[in-house]
């Protein structure tokens, strides 16, 4: 399985750390419902099919990316930068594609 890092280019997935479901949103700090917090921490759908998930390029540039992956075939459909440098990285992706990397 290969993941295309928006900074480094295409790399082996072992350089990345799996950071979990990208659709799980932490409840607001004002939300005192234990059920909501419990759901955020533990409840996952365990999807067989297309899954939106976070990965971090730990052995590379340490950028967080959202990967859309088929959990059955491991086919990767997209890999987008997230976080404060996402815009800057998106411009880099265009250059990476131009360079054929």
């Amino acid at each position: 399985m290969k993941i295309t890092c928006p900074y480094c280019g295409e790399r082996d997935h072992r350089e990345f750390t799996y950071r979990g479901d990208a659709t799980a949103i932490r409840p607001s700090i004002d939300n005192t419902s234990l059920d909501d917090h419990q759901a955020f921490v533990y409840d996952r759908k365990n999807t067989a099919g297309t899954h939106r998930e976070l990965w971090n390029h730990t052995s590379g540039c340490r950028t967080h990316v959202v990967v859309v992956r088929d959990t059955v075939s491991h086919e990767i459909f997209s890999c987008e930068p997230v976080g404060p440098f996402a815009k800057q990285l998106a411009r880099n992706v265009a250059k990476l594609k131009g360079a054929g990397a």
Partner: protein
């Protein structure tokens, strides 16, 4: 002030000069090591990248390289290692202090790595072949040209690689894991013969 002891490389004692491995007319790869006078990581905050670039340019007298590239001048190497992030290698001590004065913490974060890395030079006709055998990245010059910088790992040992030319690389290795990396390099180089200088 207490006297600062001489710096010792983590590879001292292992780095034995000579020719090893396959016997040929000339070794396929040559290894040497060096310690940086100063090695500093600079990380801009989101939104201060442009300002940090201006400071780096002014302090180092070097144009700031684009993503995954390095610029060199005299004894200074400026490498792009991530979004808003650079690694500065200088043969002279005192660079960290100079940068700290020029870069207040509202512009970015500085991390002194001088004592945290050892630089292993890998050169020779088989340099690319040797590195490709244990680091899963595209070493073809089209993907990783001379003057390029890539971050990767060899079996969980993180390494920053600066390609100086087609057949010359410098590996910035963690001092605490340098033994492991060196051990692998000796095995990987044995097949083509390696010279330690």
């Amino acid at each position: 002030m207490a006297e600062i002891p001489d710096r010792i490389s983590p590879l001292d004692g292992l780095f034995e000069p000579g020719d090893f491995g396959a016997v040929t007319n000339s070794p396929g790869v040559e290894y040497s090591q060096r310690l940086c006078g100063a090695l500093v990581q600079v990380q801009a905050w989101p939104g201060t990248t442009g300002k940090v670039e201006a400071v780096l340019k002014q302090v180092l007298g070097l144009p700031v390289p684009k993503a995954r590239l390095a610029h060199m001048k005299d004894e200074t190497i400026l490498m792009s290692t991530g979004p808003g992030r650079w690694l500065v290698d200088d043969e002279m001590e005192g660079l960290e202090e100079k940068l700290r004065k020029a870069l207040p913490s509202d512009l970015g974060a500085l991390t002194g790595l001088t004592h945290a890395r050892v630089v292993i030079s890998v050169s020779g006709e088989k340099a690319e072949w040797v590195l490709s055998s244990g680091i899963a990245m595209d070493f073809h010059v089209n993907a990783f040209p001379g003057g390029g910088v890539q971050l990767g790992h060899h079996h969980e040992i993180g390494v920053t690689i600066h390609r100086l030319g087609a057949n010359h690389f410098e590996l910035y290795a963690f001092t605490s894991l340098a033994h492991g990396l060196w051990h692998w390099l000796t095995h990987a180089g044995a097949e083509v013969g390696y010279r330690v200088t």
